[in-house]
């Protein structure tokens, strides 16, 4: 186990820079999730950490050692690939023991460690099978087993759940988290799925277009997104954004599209009249008499909650209610955002304006 320091790391392919100076401190034993849309550079960063890609500039250190010029096999890391990359011609046991075999470990030692890993992952009955004979979830576990056997300083996961069906993904998510709680190995996990990030991470790093947009615990990111990108990326259904202007006439309000008035708790000093984006999460709407007028378009009950698509000032918003309202398409209701939970972003820069 080890800490990992990524300092001002850049990566270019030819003249094209894909990572523009990324700094991420990772503490010993932390579960860090790099999350972002495809093409944001998260996988490239992970591969640089693994040593599969060169580092154009900046440094990456594992423990106290700068690893920029250290061979992948010397870095003492293990990686789980998106397609698992299991060796098809080796049995489960051989797959898991391969790294030890390459290091000339004794067969007793290999057996012992493979057995231990197989017990942790409930793979013991499958040790003589070939990857072809396994289901998706089992292959995923073998890939993790291969990492565990090595007992590395750092685990790297590259979108390990994206090849699984939805149900299995949820189950494996819990399994990986449980495994981390048990082994406490520093883990860097790449995904494009914000739910995976929210549920598993100690610390989330949101990346976008080769930069870090924000770092923090899942709830910090949810409660206080630094900018509009993070606000829109974290949370499902996504946050509603309404463009308009801040108005301060004694009380702060937000004038949305078509003059819709939306409540603000406070407005930053000197923001009167500034163009801004009003962000409110679907779950922070209530039905109230002093709310903004809205016309219901679609109602989607899921049982535990109800998603309601409605038009506010001509813009579509989505609201989620735990309580069961009787709504019909075409109904006029009054939706009120909770002023203490709304977010205000600068229209030009997308930066957060309210505290």
């Amino acid at each position: 186990m080890s800490s990992v320091q990524i300092r001002d790391v850049r990566k270019s392919f030819g003249n094209f820079e894909v990572l523009h100076g990324v700094t991420i401190p990772i503490e010993d034993g932390q579960f860090v999730v790099l999350v972002g849309p495809s093409g944001c550079g998260k996988s490239t960063l992970l591969r640089m950490l693994a040593g599969l890609e060169n580092i154009t500039s900046g440094t990456i250190s594992i423990g106290d050692r700068v690893v920029n010029n250290v061979q992948p096999k010397e870095r003492d890391i293990a990686m789980v690939f998106q397609n698992y990359a299991l060796y098809p011609h080796m049995t489960v046991a051989e797959n898991m023991g391969f790294s030890l075999k390459l290091r000339n470990a004794s067969s007793d030692e290999i057996n012992k460690r493979v057995k231990r890993a197989a017990e942790i992952l409930a793979l013991s009955p499958l040790l003589d099978r070939y990857p072809r004979q396994l289901s998706g979830g089992q292959r995923q576990r073998v890939a993790m087993g291969r990492a565990i056997v090595r007992d590395p300083q750092v685990f790297l996961f590259d979108e390990p759940l994206s090849n699984l069906d939805a149900k299995l993904r949820v189950a494996m998510r819990t399994e990986i988290k449980e495994l981390h709680q048990r082994l406490k190995t520093t883990t860097v996990y790449v995904t494009h799925d914000q739910i995976e990030a929210m549920t598993m991470a100690d610390k989330i790093v949101v990346m976008h277009d080769g930069i870090v947009e924000q770092m923090g615990t899942p709830l910090e990111l949810y409660d206080k997104p630094d900018n509009q990108f993070v606000a829109g990326f974290i949370g499902s259904p996504a946050m509603n954004f309404l463009k308009g202007h801040v108005r301060v006439n004694g009380v702060a309000t937000f004038e949305g599209p078509n003059g819709v008035k939306l409540p603000l708790k406070t407005a930053p000093a000197g923001s009167d009249g500034r163009p801004a984006v009003y962000g409110v999460r679907p779950e922070h709407f209530t039905i109230a008499d002093d709310g903004a007028e809205a016309e219901i378009i679609v109602v989607e009950p899921t049982g535990s909650e109800t998603q309601v698509f409605a038009k506010v000032g001509g813009e579509q918003v989505v609201a989620v209610f735990r309580e069961r309202h009787q709504f019909n398409p075409g109904d006029k209701v009054r939706l009120k955002p909770d002023p203490s939970l709304v977010h205000l972003f600068d229209d030009a820069t997308g930066k957060r304006m309210n505290a």
Binding site: A50, G51, L52, P72, K73, I77, A78, M79, F81, Q82, N83, A85, Y87, P88, H89, M90, F98, S99, L102, R103, Y130, P131, R132, Q133, L134, S135, R146, R150
Partner: protein, 317 residues
């Protein structure tokens, strides 16, 4: 719910005539689809093969209907030292050439699988020996190895390495080396391109995983590339062995089996005896004598080609 007896009409079971049944029988239809292919195989493969074997048991000559003489041709061949020399030559030619083709082909395939500039062009260039008609390339080699005008002898002489021409096709050892060289030159592209196709099916992430597991370049080859390539190696080498064993064109164009039969293969000897000397029966016997060797090669590939356990997509029992 109360049981209600629903009166049902008895289904009308019309007895379909045998012809109607046949008309809708998929196997019957399938048989007719197979007929053209079957006819083709019978007329162009099975019949000539059968005829060849039959001829080998007769004393047929060109222009004279033969009589059945049982195994007399084979008894003759058994005591014929030239026949045994041709068997030896064929085996030598096949094994040495195939071994070189495999080694060079694999090496080229690995090389062409790397990222390099002009990759597509280099890959295309490798195929050149394959697309030149065999007889033309054999004639070119004939000139290259000519006893008087050989460019190799000329170059070496001008470099001051030798004093007199090498008698490439006149010396038994040199002649064997030359024809094997020409065969290897011609056969390498097939092996290289087929193995390259095989290499490209190996997922790059396997190499990455192995690299992270601590494998060196050699271990990557030894534990990942080679085992995953074995099924394709089995196929390509079977074909290579079969083609080499039955080779005729190169030899006939370059040496006609000489000098002193040192490069006579079974195929060329068979041609010489059957067509040139007119002894169809004896030539057919030499050709038929190739069958056990070819069958042996096919058996080897049969077992080599057996799906390995890891390739089987068995269900979870």
């Amino acid at each position: 719910m109360a049981d209600v007896a629903i009166p049902r009409a008895k289904p009308q079971m019309s007895e379909a005539s045998a012809w109607t049944q046949l008309k809708y029988n998929r196997n019957w239809l399938g048989f007719w689809f197979m007929v053209p292919a079957m006819a083709f195989l019978i007329f162009f493969l099975a019949y000539p093969l059968g005829l060849g074997i039959w001829l080998s048991f007769t004393d047929t000559r060109i222009g004279r209907v033969g009589h059945f003489i049982a195994t007399e041709n084979y008894e003759w061949l058994w005591d014929d030292s030239i026949f045994w020399l041709s068997v030896f030559n064929t085996l030598l030619y096949t094994f040495v050439a195939s071994a070189f083709k495999f080694a060079i082909g694999l090496y080229l395939a690995l090389l062409l699988n790397e990222h390099m500039p002009f990759k597509a062009m280099l890959r295309a260039m490798v195929l050149i020996p394959f697309i030149v008609p065999t007889v033309l390339s054999a004639l070119a080699f004939w000139w290259i190895f000519d006893s008087q005008f050989s460019i190799i002898s000329w170059s070496l002489k001008h470099l001051g390495l030798i004093n007199q021409n090498i008698n490439f096709l006149g010396d038994t050892t040199w002649a064997r080396i030359c024809v094997i060289f020409a065969n290897v030159w011609r056969g390498v592209p097939f092996v290289a391109i087929t193995l390259l196709a095989g290499l490209q099916t190996v997922s790059p992430s396997l190499y990455e995983a192995a690299t992270l597991d601590g494998a060196t370049r050699w271990q990557n080859f030894r534990y990942i590339t080679y085992p995953l390539l074995t099924p394709i190696i089995a196929v390509v080498m079977t074909f290579s062995v079969l083609f080499t064993f039955t080779d005729f064109q190169l030899i006939w164009a370059m040496t006609r089996g000489g000098p002193v039969n040192a490069t006579h293969l079974m195929a060329t000897l068979s041609y010489q005896r059957a067509i040139i000397a007119g002894q169809l029966g004896e030539g057919a016997a030499i050709s038929s004598a190739m069958i056990p060797f070819l069958l042996a090669a096919i058996m080897v590939s049969w077992f080599g080609l057996q799906r390995r356990k890891w390739q089987q997509g068995e269900s979870n029992d």
